[in-house]
């Protein structure tokens, strides 16, 4: 049985027919062709599928599209302003915080939520807050550096 699910994605109002079981990540990738959000493990562990729903980071492989009805969703495609990268994307670029890049969309989305929730950040906190995101290139060192570099930029204290 299908029914229409509507939400705002990256500022645009969208609608699509979904089954009850349609996951938010399937809605984004298959209905809207927004393939920047990745499916890594499909078991809620790797965090490659992290997006923001009403400003909060969630694993879109573990949320039904129906649960996001009427919500404001932001994906990795919604961050940059034209050719100007979001400060977190820029920090990842500056700090070489990726190798293969598969985990990067989820890392960036988690990192932005982390900065939003913390007035101050230190390395230990960043590592604890990154527990929901796996990087199999073992590139955590530069990811942590990038997040610590982006924090003051996003907070306007750089």
């Amino acid at each position: 049985m299908t029914s229409t699910v509507s939400m705002t994605v990256n500022g645009k109002q969208v609608s699509a027919e979904c089954e009850g079981r349609t996951l938010l990540v399937q809605y984004l990738r298959e209905k809207l062709a927004l393939t920047g959000t990745h499916v890594g493990c499909d078991t809620s562990q790797c965090g490659a599928c992290v997006v923001h729903v009403d400003g909060i980071s969630v694993k879109s492989c573990t949320m039904l599209a129906h649960q996001a009805e009427g919500c404001d969703v932001v994906t990795i495609e919604g961050l940059a302003d034209g050719d100007t990268l979001h400060p977190m994307q820029e920090a990842f670029r500056e700090n070489h915080a990726l190798q293969c890049g598969f985990c990067t969309p989820g890392m960036v989305m988690s990192a932005i939520d982390m900065v939003n929730r913390h007035d101050t950040l230190d390395e230990k906190t960043v590592r604890h807050q990154l527990e929901g995101n796996l990087c199999r290139c073992t590139g955590y060192h530069n990811i942590v550096k990038a997040i610590l570099a982006a924090h003051p930029v996003m907070k306007g204290t750089a």
Partner: protein
């Protein structure tokens, strides 16, 4: 995963009638367990009834000697609540150690305790603090709520609307987390309550349990040394690729000792 009917409930009554009227209906709270379970085809409900739109199930309040947490309160909300942190800091810290940030942003206390995973954190707090579970039908003492592995006292069509935690004079939760999932390989919640010391263990056995011998020892002397030599038997403990029953038994003493030390500040 197999398909199911998704239904968003507008009230507790609506949710209950949707679940009881379905062929095999289940409540959907945060979905952090049931969605992965359906994906793995370990569950195949005909209907999922979403509680996210039901009023009166969210919110956290502290009045007098009680912390009230709504059944749909997310782990991240409990962790970030300054009121919880002031009244029962051990509870706020426990919530902040569940899963990962994204799981904490979605997962709920009602969903966690209704599921009663043997390695979940919240059952240790509910039993360790002697909390009361509120449902749409009645109040259930924390000691009577968890009845076995993934089993609770909840009846069909009964849902957790909230949990009341009495404020202890001191408490702490210490867990040895599985490094991948952050589930408790062993977690021990200790509290000095008005009814005496309580020690609740999660992760070690099929269901949360109390350790009477440790509670008696702490009644005489609420200090790490009081529990340091108390060993629990490993006969009924879990044994899997992560830890043997013998190792879990050992960890119960270690975590209890550390929890008492932290509770004493």
């Amino acid at each position: 995963m197999y398909d199911f009917n998704y239904r968003k409930a507008s009230s507790v009554e609506d949710a209950v009638s949707a679940v009881t009227g379905a062929e095999d209906g289940r409540f959907l709270a945060g979905g952090m367990t049931i969605i992965p379970t359906i994906k793995q085809r370990l569950a195949n409900p005909s209907d999922l009834v979403d509680l996210a739109g039901v009023g009166g199930l969210t919110g956290i309040s502290v009045s007098g000697n009680t912390v009230e947490i709504g059944g749909m309160a997310r782990h991240a909300e409990v962790n970030a609540s300054s009121e919880v942190a002031a009244a029962i800091p051990a509870l706020a810290r426990l919530a902040g150690g569940i899963g990962d940030p994204q799981v904490r942003n979605r997962g709920t206390i009602g969903g966690s305790i209704a599921n009663n995973d043997p390695a979940a954190d919240y059952p240790a707090a509910v039993v360790g603090l002697g909390a009361t579970v509120r449902t749409n039908r009645r109040e259930i003492a924390g000691d009577d709520f968890f009845t076995g592995m993934f089993e609770t006292a909840l009846e069909p069509g009964e849902l957790v609307t909230g949990v009341s935690f009495p404020v202890p004079s001191k408490a702490a939760y210490m867990k040895f987390p599985n490094p991948a999932s952050r589930y408790a390989i062993v977690g021990v919640f200790v509290a000095a309550t008005s009814g005496g010391p309580r020690v609740a263990v999660t992760g070690a056995g099929p269901c949360v349990f109390r350790v009477a011998e440790m509670e008696q020892a702490l009644a005489g002397n609420f200090a790490p040394e009081a529990v340091a030599d108390i060993k629990i038997g490993d006969d009924d403990l879990n044994s899997d690729i992560h830890a043997s029953a013998e190792y879990r038994a050992h960890l119960v003493t270690v975590m209890a000792k550390r929890a008492v030390a932290q509770a004493n500040g």
